[in-house]
């Protein structure tokens, strides 16, 4: 059993990064995730493991420092919050195009624009549908606890290196700021340069020896036929993710007549609603996607014929619901309930929306 600690979600992500043997973190302060950089600076991971931590001059610089470090095969991560993640998008598109592994956490706050500093899930589309320019996908993990904030750092790097693709941890100000018990894993050593060379010499820019041609990290191909071929290759990776690395959790779904589908913070609130509804005799289950991309399409699809209705509970104005409707081919009555702009729904509000759905009403938007 690892070390037990009471930590903020943001601190847990930072501590987990050190313990996972991450080589570098580049970031820029923004509420509600500044604790990540603060914690790392406080902990001096350069002393503990040799991990590099640098406060960049902007989000533009931070994501491009990630791009540079990832180009050399090093384990590198960054965190930001919604407006900062918007600034990251150019770099993320380059990272996806150049096929570099890295982990990016978005501690989402309400928007659009400068918005609010309170929790939100309004960056779902940005995270799961692309965000930046071009056809690419991030592998998106949605933690629902401080424990998962910590665990998903290492899980994220495993996926990032399996596919040479950026991974996003999509969380929010609620999980980032709240304190919870977390079991921390033991310290893992950072990869040695020899280990990195063994793994990544075929692509990483670590110096051209006589044994191979030069390596080039680029997302540019002026030959459109080659660029299309590259796109086919990317799409193949995404199909493989959809086959091999979908994650979700089903709670009380076996006998359910109705489902609540929710991720992250919303799923925590929905858990309480589940208990309230079950006490009233309503047979409802909670389906929690853990990977938002790849979305658990097949797992949800099998509820066609079993459940009479699905309530998409999200702190956004109907983003998650689109994937649910695709998953169930619109063969189930799917309705949306959510609060926006930094407001958080209560379990009672969710129950009310569920009862409206059950009674043949329409929650609208």
């Amino acid at each position: 059993m690892g070390e037990l600690k009471l930590m903020k979600g943001n601190e847990a992500i930072a501590e987990a990064a050190i313990r996972a043997g991450v080589d570098a973190y580049f970031g820029y302060p923004i509420t509600p995730q500044s604790e990540v950089l603060e914690y790392l600076m406080q902990e001096q991971p350069e002393e503990r493991t040799g991990m590099v931590v640098l406060q960049a001059e902007s989000e533009l610089a931070a994501i491009n420092m990630v791009y540079g470090a990832a180009s050399t095969g090093k384990k590198v991560m960054t965190t930001s919050s919604s407006p900062g993640i918007s600034l990251y998008q150019e770099g993320i598109s380059y990272i996806a195009g150049a096929e570099l592994p890295c982990v990016i956490a978005n501690v989402v706050r309400g928007g659009p624009g400068l918005g609010t500093i309170q929790p939100s899930q309004a960056d779902y589309f940005q995270a799961t549908k692309g965000g930046g320019h071009g056809d690419y996908k991030l592998y998106v993990l949605a933690p629902a606890s401080v424990q998962e904030m910590a665990d998903f750092v290492e899980d994220g790097f495993n996926i990032a290196y399996k596919y040479r693709n950026p991974v996003m941890i999509l969380t929010d100000g609620m999980i980032g700021q709240m304190m919870e018990k977390v079991e921390l894993k033991d310290q893992k050593p950072r990869w040695t340069d020899e280990e990195i060379k063994k793994m990544s010499d075929s692509w990483a820019t670590i110096g051209k020896g006589n044994h191979r041609e030069r390596n080039i990290i680029t997302s540019l191909d002026l030959d459109s036929a080659k660029q299309e071929k590259h796109n086919h290759h990317l799409q193949k990776k995404y199909r493989q993710m959809e086959e091999e690395d979908v994650r979700f959790e089903e709670i009380n779904c076996d006998d359910a007549d109705y489902l609540i589908v929710a991720y992250g913070s919303s799923s925590r609130i929905a858990m309480k609603t589940l208990n309230l509804a079950r006490a009233k005799g309503i047979r409802v289950g909670l389906f929690r996607p853990i990977t938002l991309y790849p979305f658990p399409m097949k797992a949800l699809n099998k509820y066609i014929g079993q459940v009479k209705g699905i309530l998409s509970v999200e702190m956004s104005a109907g983003q998650l619901i689109e994937d649910i409707m695709l998953a169930v081919e619109c063969k189930i009555n799917v309705q949306h309930f959510g609060r926006y702009g930094g407001m958080i729904h209560s379990p009672d509000e969710v129950l009310q929306a569920l009862e409206t759905l059950i009674n043949g009403g329409n929650n609208g938007r």
Partner: protein
């Protein structure tokens, strides 16, 4: 003696370094980019640094620099090369890292990255090609375009009142404590090339000694953008660019040498 008797391997005195690939350069005839590429690669060759160097290419005419430089290279987003190089150098401090950037990349869209990498004193080398124009996109006004200079987006000449002043970014970054060596060179004549190569050599020597950021500007031509044949473009550069962007060292051993 017959020419055929002279052209023998044992009589070879100069050939293109193997650190330049055999790809035909994508630059216009007479463009200084090719010479600038070659002297950097010659320097790395002479210092034996091919296996230890990582270059960062910008967006602009030299976006494809990695097609010509036979070393591991990264292509960066427009203006972000110094940030990318920072990411490489911080995680690979034992490697030699340089960026190769044009004036639009370094002094317009990437000004923040340039200044902060210089100010942090990153142990990297920045090679800055200044031809006062955006070449790749077809000759638009650059931050370094001279007053009155005609470009596609200043067709009546650069008007300082409405378009702002040409930016002497090199003098600007020389003021920062993080820069250790700052020089301005050119590659239009044999002697200029030799001097420029010396500056680049010094820049990499400084990187080897972890003394701080080394920055070499190369004032160059843009025949297509300036709408002049190469030799005339070089003369125009001497007559117009050099008075505003004077050649020579600006900062040596961390000390300003020329009160500009």
């Amino acid at each position: 003696m017959d020419v055929k008797e002279i052209i023998k391997d044992e009589n070879l005195v100069y050939k293109k370094t193997s650190l330049m690939t055999s790809n035909v350069l994508s630059y216009c005839p007479g463009c200084g980019h090719g010479t600038a590429h070659r002297i950097i690669m010659e320097t790395l060759d002479e210092m034996g640094l091919q296996s230890q160097t990582i270059g960062v290419a910008p967006v602009g005419c030299s976006v494809l620099a990695y097609d010509f430089m036979n070393i591991d290279m990264i292509q960066a987003a427009h203006g972000r090369a110094p940030a990318v190089a920072t990411g490489v150098k911080r995680t690979r401090p034992d490697k030699f890292v340089f960026t190769y950037q044009g004036d639009g990349d370094l002094a317009a869209i990437g000004t923040a990255e340039t200044i902060h990498a210089c100010n942090r004193g990153e142990n990297i080398t920045i090679v800055f090609i200044n031809n006062g124009i955006y070449g790749m996109t077809g000759g638009q006004m650059a931050p370094t375009t001279l007053e009155g200079m005609k470009t596609a987006t200043s067709p009546y000449g650069r008007n300082l009142r409405s378009m702002g002043n040409p930016l002497k970014i090199t003098e600007l970054i020389a003021q920062l404590p993080g820069t250790y060596y700052v020089s301005r060179q050119a590659v239009h004549t044999p002697s200029a090339v030799r001097k420029a190569k010396k500056a680049i050599r010094l820049a990499f020597e400084i990187q080897k000694e972890n003394k701080g950021l080394s920055f070499v500007e190369i004032v160059s031509n843009c025949n297509s953008g300036w709408k002049l044949p190469p030799v005339k473009a070089n003369q125009w550069m001497v007559d117009n660019m050099f008075p505003f962007y004077p050649l020579g060292d600006i900062k040596v051993d961390g000390q300003l040498v020329n009160a500009q």
